[in-house]
């Protein structure tokens, strides 16, 4: 039983990271129906910026907590600028283009960002500075750390904050209006360009936050780390119903738990025929099965082909 609990904890933490990244995807998708394939790269840039800033400050002698905060702020600022720039330069001119065009642009941007990061930070793996003290907890035979608790709490709070933003503020109302119909919204006095920019900026800030979480958890970073993470997070967003904030969160956590339990138990369940080498396909199999019965994901609204 303690093993089962441990696997649930493993999955919950991993899933919270997916969820945090997935929120960024879903934020942009919900408003303009665009898969921002480069979002994983934004997360990567967030991690690497934190390493540089916090690492340097710690070396200079600044207290770890302060350096960590400075690193986080720098990452958030850089990523916000990056998100704004991405939208302004790459995506905005393509609003009326055929639907696959922005997808290719996003892929191109993802390649560009990866290679820029490689030129700036090099090809080797980097170590993330220790920002939080190592505290271990024990619960019913399962162990977990303070960092893990923080990750789950942060992603929960982030989702709550976003829901508040979208459903309780004026900007949120403008966002929802733009998502419904950009033309009509702009007739009603909503500056849809600004709203879309805001969505990108917020999504990218979340990406930076996710990047810092990933960094603190695994303590390593690499210029290619964003791609796989982005892909899994995107899967999570679709699983939950892309465009739906709570859906992204639930999809992420679900995906993490499915992966952990899958890796932990598939071997025993199939008498050793399937093993943890199939870990990466559980997510996709579950996704395909869910979409067969609910073509818009678990919590997605039934919409037309809006992409």
């Amino acid at each position: 039983m303690d093993i089962f609990l441990q696997q649930i904890i493993n999955g919950l933490v991993q899933g919270s990271i997916y969820a945090l990244v997935a929120l960024g995807y879903t934020m942009v998708y919900g408003i303009m129906g665009l898969i921002n394939f480069a979002h994983g790269e934004v997360v990567m840039i967030g991690t690497l910026v934190t390493i540089t800033v916090a690492g340097t400050l710690i070396k200079v002698g600044m207290p770890v907590a302060l350096a960590g905060l400075a690193g986080l702020s720098a990452a958030v600022l850089v990523c916000m600028a990056l998100g704004w720039g991405l939208e302004r330069i790459a995506y905005r001119p393509l609003r009326n283009a055929p639907r696959l065009t922005p997808l290719i642009t996003a892929i191109g941007m993802s390649i560009v960002l990866q290679n820029v990061a490689m030129i700036v930070w090099g090809r080797n793996y980097l170590t993330f500075p220790h920002l939080l003290p190592k505290i271990n907890f024990e619960f019913a035979g399962a162990s977990f750390t303070a960092v893990q608790v923080m990750i789950v709490v942060v992603s929960g709070l982030t989702m709550a904050g976003l829901i508040f933003l979208v459903y309780r503020t004026k900007l949120g109302m403008a966002m929802r209006a733009t998502a419904q119909n950009p033309q009509v919204a702009s007739l009603m006095g909503v500056n849809s360009n600004r709203v879309i920019s805001a969505a990108f900026v917020i999504g990218s800030a979340l990406g930076a936050l996710a990047g810092v979480m990933v960094g603190t958890y695994y303590e390593i970073a690499h210029y290619q780390m964003g791609f796989m993470l982005g892909l899994k997070a995107f899967t999570a967003a679709v699983l939950g119903g892309i465009g739906n904030l709570a859906g992204a969160m639930i999809g992420g956590v679900l995906l993490g738990i499915i992966e952990a339990l899958g890796a932990g138990y598939i071997g025993d369940l199939t008498g050793g025929f399937l093993g943890s080498h199939y870990q990466d396909i559980f997510a996709f199999v579950v996704l395909i099965v869910v979409l067969m019965f609910k073509p818009s994901g678990l919590f997605g609204e039934k919409t037309g082909d809006r992409a």
Binding site: Y29, M32, G33, L34, I35, A90, P93, L94, R95, N96, A97, P98, R99, L100, T101, P102, L103, I104, T105, I107, G108, M109, S110, I111, V112, Q114, N115, V116, M118, I119, P182, Q183, L231, F234, T235, V238, I242, G272, F273, H277, Y278, D280, I281, A283, F284, V285, L287, I288, L291, M292, P295, S296, G297, G304, D305, R306, A307
Partner: protein, 356 residues
């Protein structure tokens, strides 16, 4: 048939024929390596045209196309290598590979019929990964694919005693292995181009176009959207299967790492960059995206040396950087692709609104 006799058209055909026959010999002047590069370009044309049926004609976004290529490659590898000790001739295996890929196409197609746009994209992407992961792991409990080690010693294409590897003399002309494959590939590519052209203007092609533009309307006018979508998946997959078989024979070695997600994305980029649904555009996209990295590979390093006297940036990363930028810029200034079909250009010109 009379239009083939039109002097302008006939002249054009002769010109192409001459250019196509001369190409491998001209390329060989720069070394057989360039013939190999040209061969890969033709292989990509083949793949891009296959994917074009699914994405360009029927409008179904497929991010897992490489799976069919992998299925074809492994079918060839298993039926013509010492791995199982079977050595069937290529004319038997290629159709089998195409058929198996076709089955996989339908397998992928059927659960995804209800899905649209981005949902379809992620499911096809997942499917591609599932196929690759299975190939990487099916070495136990029964060794089918030899897992990550891949399969070596795959037979080259051979007709009777005439083998496509190694150099042979024909009519006093010495033909190297890559040059022979070149002619095989060109013959197959012409076949695919003809099939694509015929399809585009057929009843099926128009039905696909109708589905692409508006599925509900298409259904309303009595088009069997389900069967037609499956047909598009199946046909696209078959072409992928054939291309995979040739790849296997040409390389003599296959392993799962050749079939990663990035390859699917590359082929999709070829289709979109060239001009979705427009056959000459897709060919252009495939040629550009497969040759460009090679040209950059040989151009970027020496250019830096000449300009700065040393390597400032690793050529490999600069190459990918330029490649990524090219994708972004082309999409920015030619959103319908470099060479879109005339109708598509018109539509875009007239209809500025369209669902974002």
């Amino acid at each position: 048939m009379s239009k083939w006799l039109n002097p302008r058209s006939a002249f054009g055909i002769v010109l192409i024929a001459v250019a196509l026959i001369a190409l491998p010999f001209v390329a060989a002047m720069g070394g057989q390596a360039w013939v190999r590069i040209v061969n890969f370009a033709i292989l990509y044309i083949f793949l891009a045209l296959g994917l074009n049926i699914v994405v360009g004609f029927a409008g179904l976004l497929d991010l897992g196309y490489i799976a069919f290529y992998a299925v074809g490659a492994y079918t060839y590898a298993l039926l013509a290598s010492p791995h199982f000790g079977v050595h069937w001739p290529f004319w038997a295996i290629l159709p089998i590979g195409a058929a198996i890929a076709c089955v996989f196409g339908v397998l992928l197609g059927s659960p995804t019929l209800k899905l649209r746009g981005d949902y379809l994209a992620i499911v096809t992407l997942g499917f591609g990964e599932i196929v690759r992961i299975f190939m990487n792991n099916l070495n136990a409990p029964i060794n089918i694919t030899n897992g990550p080690q891949g399969i070596t010693l795959i037979d080259p294409v051979a007709i009777g005693d005439f083998r496509f590897s190694g150099t042979t003399q024909i009519l006093g002309i010495s033909l190297s292995g890559p040059q022979k494959y070149y002619f095989l590939l060109v013959a197959l590519a012409i076949l695919v181009i003809i099939i694509n052209l015929r399809l585009q203007n057929s009843r099926i092609g128009r039905a696909w176009q109708a589905i692409r533009e508006d599925e509900i309307a298409a259904k309303a006018v009595g088009i069997n959207t389900r069967n037609l979508k499956l047909l598009a998946f199946a046909m696209g997959a078959s072409f992928g299967g054939i291309a995979g078989g040739i790849f296997s024979a040409m390389q003599g070695f296959v392993s799962p790492e050749s079939f990663s997600l990035i390859e699917s994305i590359m082929i999709l980029a070829m289709v979109v960059l060239g001009g979705m649904g427009h056959i000459p555009g897709v060919i252009l996209g495939a040629v550009l995206l497969s040759i460009l990295p090679e040209v950059l590979r040989y151009g970027v390093g020496p250019l830096q040396m000449a300009l700065f006297g040393k390597m400032l940036i690793d050529p490999e990363s600069l190459r990918m950087l330029i490649f990524g930028l090219a994708l972004v810029l082309v999409m920015r200034f030619k959103p319908a692709g470099l060479w879109p079909s005339p109708e598509r250009k018109r539509e875009l010109g007239e209809k500025p609104a369209g669902g974002a």
